[in-house]
Symmetry: C2
Subunit: 96 residues, 2 copies
């Protein structure tokens, strides 16, 4: 399943900046950053449930907003990219 995550973390305070770092670290363990506050994932429903639970542990539920969007098929079938190309698509080999 392909999933997109967008976030707004109230990072003007020290604690907000810490939450931002922790959220990024969690998301980077599950998928790939495609824009500053947007991540993309390709994983099972079980891993999605684990990601959600880890994100819920990190964010401030009054100040921060995180939205996950589940796609019924390959996310690229629903996407139009304008401007700078995305560094790497999901499923493309990592250049190591």
């Amino acid at each position: 399943m392909d999933v997109l995550l967008t976030y707004d973390i109230a990072d003007t305070s020290k604690s907000g900046a810490a939450r931002l770092r922790r959220l990024s670290a969690v998301c980077e363990r599950y998928g790939q950053r495609i824009q500053f506050s947007v991540f993309q994932f390709r994983f099972s429903p079980t891993r999605l449930a684990r990601l959600i639970s880890e994100v819920e542990d990190v964010i401030d539920h009054q100040q921060d907003s995180v939205i996950l969007y589940r796609f019924p098929d390959n996310i690229e079938k629903f996407a139009n990219h304008l401007g700078r190309p995305q560094q790497k698509g999901l499923g493309e080999p990592w250049m190591v």
Copy 2:
């Protein structure tokens, strides 16, 4: 059709800040901001094509990234909201 737009504008320069303002103004004419760099739209394929053309006029195609995601049904069927609730959903009446 429900559409999500996410953007990364290289706004460290004066011209970047101007592009950011112009992109926001374009998006606000077609839909609703739901997070700092995320907009949601509910409109026809024709209006999507016009939005894309206006966005292409505004952005720097080397530096900026804009991605639009088309949803096959009501976007809320695909979304999980964590933390701060979204100010207003698409299609909900505006409180005036």
